[in-house]
Amino acid sequence: MHIQPRLPDHPDLWRARELATDPNRHLNSTNNHSTGFDQFDELLHGGGWPAAGLMELLCDVHGIGELRLLASALTRVSRNEARWITWINPPFVPYAPALARVGIDVGKVLVIHPKSHREALWALEQALKTGASSAALAWLDESALTTTDIRRLQLAAVTGRTWTTLFRPASAADKASMAELRILVESEPAGRCDRLAFTILKRRGGWPTSRIALDVGHAPIRRERTVVGEQLAFWRHSHANAGGYRTAS
């Protein structure tokens, strides 16, 4: 008798409106996590990142804003849910002060360092299907990753109601994938660091898009360029005098 009221929330229940191209679908943000960028939300099914499902971010260069893209939703998730935000095999250290500055509750961040690809896959699947993670971010060994693995992860993400993001290199765009959302992220060629360009390769309820520029903002810069220039000149000068810094490459 307790089941019935919850039935509409059950992840295995398929609803016809999941596929419908409802013009107001982005307003229905109860299911998905808004990205924090209106321009982006409008393109995504359910008005945001999949709250229960697997998405892929294809990205070759670190540091072009790939985490900032997720930050707004991660912040909301970490505030609203008493579940882990699981990072599996991150390439660098997720820096707690920066996460806290964005608004993410670092106490809910769980970082897992597996020793092998098999362990990483196992840990990720556990993190998803136990329902213990509100969000999961994973960096897996691309050479060992198979389509079957991704299919399993997608199912596990739906079962555990976990927003799962798989980071893969851009070369994976040619490979088939069962992820429900695939986005290629690149830096803007103009070299503007407050923007990045993304291409949606696959999405629910829509066609792939062409390359779109997105303003992700660049909060860090506060100082005037002139000050930077002066300092830089000072440093170059002092280094030239010392004559040593070029040995480091």
Binding site: G63, L67, F92, A96, G107, H113, A127, Y245
Partner: protein
């Protein structure tokens, strides 16, 4: 005396209900007819082909207990092993182990402790518990009996339950196999061992009072053999010679005269049976520590097969935990090889740790299983032991059932099951939580934290821009590949330890990555002591503004 206060049903019939009812006394007698055999079944990994094999239990006088196939084959109680074998060649037999039976009964009594604080084991085949005060909590007499039966079944025992107003009467009814509790269906009618013939059914009774009426009527029909050791066999025979076969006949006789003829012991027993005299059963006190072992009859070399005894032990543990309202934090498994480690082959010990106190058998087993996968287990395991190394009381909200998706509801804590699972398989080092620490030096402004550590109030985050990715250690770079956007931010600290004296810049790399780079400089103290012209440094990449 509560027992004395519980009047016999006949007296009660005239009474009206009291204005406020004192806790009802309702004794459940639980008889475990196959206990002697079940302790051996427990040691065997269950094989489907052995289920139907005739099995007998031997004591000094011959066959003392047998299972249904053996009875169907026509083996009689008390016959010798040779006779039994001549009847059916495919016979399994065990020698009775009364010590183990008592240990097992004690464990079951502790398992039943969750239903009542007054559980006793007054006879070698019976438990009694006074569940009168627990009826409301468990949803009535029927529901409680059903739950108790299910529990015993999970632990591998068939049982008969009867309810009565005195412990002695409840045991007689349970032995007689008179089902006055509807839930008592665990044994098929044909399964009742031939100690007594059920004489009649009192039907389903809805309230404890009704049980008293029903149990009293049923008690009168029970044969005297159901008294167990309370009436000596010699006396039963003498009474039979007098034409007295059932309790009803005996209870109708004047008790003083019976006492004069058969001794005060019988007189006293009848008084306790009828509730006229107090029956001070001694309730058990649950053990403070849990430790249980299983000795396997055949050695096990397969890990999958080891799960069977492990599951048994864990389910015992779970009943102990729930009776004590404890959650386990740390467990020790011990696997002893053939020969018990005396011939140089050592057993192996596993420790399973839990971030949160756990009391669910499923979760405990899952973590133990993962620990087992990574362990070096002896080739031939003969015995498995489980002991609790650390347990602590659990909050009521942790006991509640998990919700539809397996996550605990209304619990502020993070789901620690994941931490347990991952650390059991990948090791404790593979997991890391994050915490802020109050330090200006970037690499010391965060610390790894054990995911199950208690969270303190975090210090204020920095107001300066910080990258989401940090490099540890920083990478040496060639500054020519970077274009600086902002800076510098001077960080100079750590005179008490690792001195940091750096100017940080935000820069963009040719690839489009936004980087946090710094140049080393000499600290003020160093500069004062040396020639200021030599203030210099190399460039390092310390993070990405991802």
């Amino acid at each position: 005396m509560e027992q004395a206060a519980a009047r016999l049903p006949r007296d009660r019939r005239e009474q009206t209900a009291p204005a406020f009812a004192q806790p009802t006394v309702l004794w459940y007698g639980v008889r475990l007819p196959y206990l002697g055999l079940e302790i051996f079944e427990r040691r065997y990994p269950a094989r489907p082909d052995e289920r139907g094999r005739p099995t007998v239990l031997m004591d000094g006088k011959g066959v003392s207990l047998m299972n249904v196939p053996a009875r169907d084959a026509g083996i009689a109680l008390g016959s010798t092993l040779a006779t039994a074998r001549s009847i059916t060649a495919d016979l399994r037999h065990f020698n009775r182990d009364t010590d183990e039976e008592q240990r097992r009964l004690r464990l079951l009594a502790e398992a039943a402790y969750r239903y009542s604080p007054r559980v006793a084991m007054p006879a070698e085949d019976c438990l009694v518990l006074d569940a009168g005060a627990s009826l409301k909590l468990f949803g009535g007499a029927e529901a409680l009996a059903a739950s108790l039966l299910a529990l015993l079944q999970r632990l591998g025992h068939a049982a008969r339950i009867a309810a009565a107003s005195t412990p002695a009467a409840s045991m007689v009814l349970a032995r007689a196999g008179i089902p006055n509790i509807a839930a008592d269906r665990s044994l098929q009618p044909g399964d009742v061992p031939p100690t007594a013939d059920a004489q009649g059914s009192a039907g389903i009774a809805p309230s404890p009072d009704a049980y008293f009426h029903a149990s009293f009527d049923a008690l009168r029909a029970a044969p005297l053999e159901c008294a167990g050791a309370e009436i000596e066999a010699r006396d039963i025979e003498r009474l039979a010679n007098m034409g007295i076969f059932q309790f009803g006949q005996l209870l109708d006789l004047p008790r003083d005269e019976l006492g004069a003829r058969f001794g005060v012991k019988l007189q006293d027993y009848l008084a306790r049976l009828a509730g006229d005299a107090p029956d001070p059963v001694r309730p058990i006190v649950p053990r403070e520590k849990f430790s249980s072992s299983l000795h396997l009859i055949e050695s096990v070399s397969d890990r999958e097969a080891l799960l069977f005894p492990m599951r048994r032990l864990v389910s015992e543990l779970a009943t102990w935990l729930s009776a004590k309202q404890l959650g386990v934090r740390s467990l020790t498994w011990r696997f002893e090889p053939l020969g018990g480690g005396n011939d140089g082959r050592d057993g192996c010990e596993l420790t399973a740790k839990f971030a949160d106190p756990r009391l669910d058998a499923k979760g405990i087993l899952a973590v133990s299983k993962l620990e087992l996968e990574g362990a070096e287990v002896p080739d031939e395991v003969m015995s498995v032991r489980l002991a609790v190394a650390a347990a602590e009381p659990v909050r009521p909200d942790q006991v509640g059932p998990a919700d539809l998706f397996g996550a605990k509801q209304a619990s502020e804590g993070l789901p620690m099951e994941l931490v347990d699972l991952i650390s059991a398989r990948l090791g404790r080092d593979a997991l890391q939580g994050l915490a802020l620490s109050d330090d200006h030096r970037p690499e010391f402004a965060w610390t790894p934290r054990s995911p199950n550590a208690k969270r303190g109030t975090p210090p204020e985050g920095s107001f300066h821009p910080r990258p989401l990715w940090l490099f540890e250690p920083p990478r040496p770079i060639d500054i020519d590949h970077f274009r600086c956007l902002s800076g510098p931010e001077r960080i100079e600290s750590g005179w008490w330890g690792e001195i940091v004296a750096r100017d940080y810049f935000i820069a963009v790399h040719g690839s489009g990555a936004q980087c946090w780079i710094y140049a080393n400089r000499k600290s003020g103290a160093e500069r004062r002591s040396e020639d200021s012209q030599n203030a210099q440094g190399a460039w390092f990449l310390h993070g990405y503004f991802a």
